[in-house]
Symmetry: C2
Subunit: 497 residues, 2 copies
């Protein structure tokens, strides 16, 4: 066996451990009995450790050097795979083992404390744990950065989106920062000028919501022969290649959240189901970072899912599912409800127009936390001030402020900006897809996602991690990622329509 | 760290991989989408290989030798653990890696073919695969036997029940072989003399069966905080320590099978939930073989579950669950149905009295297959002849003959006898428990399993694998495993009552 072939075998083993971790994580959130958490934590920690050991092994470093010497004989995908292997190995050895263990443990403890502290609105309880998490993530960022010649925050960003840097993301977000406040004001004003939409009569029985969600996944092309739909406290898409498990959550008091969460996670799932099977156990077969992943969920949820065409298909199904009749259930009223814009407190409840502000708040704060420019003591005040400045709303308590998201408490710094890069990328990809295929929008009106998904399969899914995100976006859309298409989309949908 | 402590760390890692395999196996049978089987097979094979590598490592052999030299300083449980480690290591290195891979693969292929061949009644389709499975199991038995100084079949038996030998099992079964034909004849005659029981009116709605099954698990002391109840094609108890997952299957045409399958698997689960948590990741913390495991399911299902006391508690619950009223639902009629004895074709449907004959058929045939005294070509005829001789019924087709069970097609030789050793052990344990605690039987009449389970916790569960099966049984009952208590039980329940 050549050094490259031996590397493939080693990485395949690590990939299979990671797939298994995917199944275990899904099980933890959906099926596992409460009392089993201690044993499950042992399983997760051990499998993660074994996967890390494989990739960080000195022998892998030697094989990489040998394979890189003989790289001339590799195919394009093999060469890309070798690059991704090198990247994984460098990152795995950059973080000292004891730091990794300490960080993983601190994240788990803080996340656990946070789960009680959030509903209790108790920032003081979480504060010392959060300080420790940040201290260790700063150390992780420093260790990675020393290896990669990056600042700590850039090194953390690069984990979630290879190649992403604070400065380039700042530049990407600048036009939104400039244009959105005025755009939001104009849309809210336009909405106020029209009669307020009539609320739908509750309750929305869970069984009917479930049936609709299954229908929606079928509609977007989710393959139930290689996936499932279940319920969890927070919607996610997980499992493993060829076995993608999507979750949502139902409340009988609200209708749209479960439906849109389902197709959002379904968009992630299509990306998982659509990458090349031949590379399923190799680094080059993985998703190209979280920004691209989020673009795949956002293109399904926001771009296609909230298009006038698709909503025209969806609304009769909704009336049918709930026996809806009368003015509240009219297309016009449902449209007004589904596209309501309103600056609010909660990121995950935000609409397309105000969502970016939630990310800008977090992007600014988390880099200051990692840079040591903001102390944990001052986090709530800084968070509330940023929300007031960017969204114009007053945060009444930390539960609806800096305690609302799991990310920081679980050690994820550099993750939040990817949501917005993903949303912007989605707008750009959708515009390119619609331009390339005039049949795409009319098909959505028939509940037919095949033209859109076919375009995504060709331009995104099938490429795995063979090229970097900017090449992927440039090849697919003819331009690097920018804010234009996103702003054009928001204006067209919310102001001009 | 001492060599012993380092061994504990290595074996804990293997145990955590095995726990993870337990979760994956459960998922495969209950939740996994059909199309995910290829990926799942990779996961199972890789984790099994990694667990095997850990235990078979030459370094583990060296550490064992060092630890055995210093064994004087170990506690009783540590010393027992060291013995179990040695046993696992010797077995892991005895089978050449390529033989293990070939056997695992052949088992999977044959089992897959069997799944279609059984309903199609197509022995010819499965035959070449079965021949290969037997050839490889014979080789596995020979390799193990060479290491352990045992015949191939004894080496296979020893895998499932450490210390079990063909001759000792023969001796154990001899009194049953002698006494059962006449006993069955007498019971069937006694039944014929009474009016035939009235069949219960179908259907039995699944929801009501499910609620009853959950109630039954609660009743026997199953801990839903550390376990689940689900549905699978074949009932099993699986998962991992602290997270025991029981399955059953429902048919609206029959009532008792789902209920008794549930408490049977629940009995296995109590054994899993009741072993010492401190040793959960060590070999000494494991169950003491399949015969003891089966004794724990049989004591709950047959000994306690079909006792007059517990049935008296159960029947009103059954009437309540299905709104049963009238003579078919009377205690007397339900008792006659629940305890019907009738020689039949299917092992898993057999009653307490005819079940042993099904095992004797298989025990005789599988040892002949492994010894090379019976060719696969001749298996159906030999099977049918043995059934006719021992049960007095004619096998009409292979579907209800040698194709009915998965075991042989999945490579399990030496497993079948454990079911009967388990049933006999259960009778002996139950008799000892009832003698030790006069409150035990009256408690069952109240649906209170606590006295029985407390006795099992003390005498069986808490001992893990610290002593061998015979010591376990002798300590608990004052006598080695024998047939007396089982025959006494059958006579008392079916002839004298």
């Amino acid at each position: 066996m050549s050094p490259y072939t031996r590397l493939e075998a080693a990485f395949a083993r690590a990939a299979i451990l990671n797939e298994t971790l995917g199944v275990l994580h899904w099980d933890t959130e959906t099926m596992m009995p409460k009392g089993a958490i201690a044993g499950r934590s042992d399983q997760l920690a051990t499998l993660e450790e074994m996967s890390h050991e494989i990739i960080a092994a000195p022998r892998v470093g030697e094989m990489l050097a040998e394979a890189e010497e003989g790289a001339a004989g590799l195919t394009e995908w093999q060469a890309a795979n070798l690059r991704e292997m090198r990247r994984a190995h460098v990152r795995a050895v950059a973080i000292p083992a004891d730091l990794l263990v300490a960080a993983t443990k601190a994240n788990a403890v803080c996340q656990h404390v946070w789960q009680e502290a959030r509903p209790a609105n108790d920032f003081a309880a979480v504060k010392p744990h959060l300080a420790e998490v940040i201290r260790l993530q700063r150390a992780v960022g420093a260790a990675l950065g020393a290896s990669l010649d990056l600042s700590p925050y850039d090194a953390l960003l690069d984990q979630y989106d290879p190649g992403a840097r604070q400065d380039s993301i700042d530049a990407l977000f600048a036009p939104l920062r400039a244009a959105l406040p005025e755009l939001i004001r104009a849309v809210v004003e336009k909405q106020r000028a029209a009669p307020a939409p009539e609320p739908l009569p509750k309750p929305f029985p869970v069984a009917a919501q479930q049936a609709l969600c299954r229908m929606l996944l079928d509609t977007i092309g989710f393959d139930f022969d290689h996936g499932r739909l279940d319920v969890s406290a927070h919607p996610f898409s997980g499992g493993s290649f060829g076995d993608i498990r999507v979750t949502t959550r139902y409340s009988e008091d609200v209708l749209f959240p479960a439906l849109f969460a389902t197709i959002h996670e379904g968009g992630h799932a299509l990306y998982e189901q659509g990458r090349p099977a031949a590379w399923r156990h190799q680094p080059v077969g993985l998703a190209k970072g979280m920004a691209v992943h989020e673009s795949q969920s956002m293109i399904i949820e926001w771009q296609a899912g909230k298009s006038a065409e698709f909503l025209g298909f969806l609304f009769p199904k909704i009336r049918e599912a709930f026996g809806g009749d009368g003015p509240a259930w009219s297309d016009g009223n449902l449209m007004a409800l589904a596209r309501r814009v309103e600056p609010g407190l909660i990121r995950v409840d935000a609409d397309e127009l105000t969502y970016p502000a939630h990310i800008l708040v977090r992007f600014g704060i988390e880099r200051a936390l990692i840079a040591g420019e903001l102390a944990v003591d001052d986090l709530p005040a800084a968070f509330n001030e940023a929300v007031a400045g960017l969204l114009g709303v007053t945060v009444p308590d930390d539960r609806r402020g800096c305690l609302q998201d799991i990310h920081w408490h679980g050690g994820a710094y550099g993750y939040f900006p990817m949501y917005l890069v993903g949303a912007m990328t989605a707008a750009q990809l959708f515009a390119a897809a619609v331009e390339a295929d005039p049949a795409l929008r009319p098909a959505l009106a028939e509940g037919d996602f095949r033209p859109l998904v076919a375009w995504l399969r060709t331009h995104i899914h099938s490429r795995g991690s063979a090229v970097d995100r900017e090449t992927l976006v440039c090849d697919a859309t003819g331009a690097p990622t920018g804010a234009d298409r996103f702003l054009t989309h928001l204006r067209a949908r919310y102001l001009d329509s």
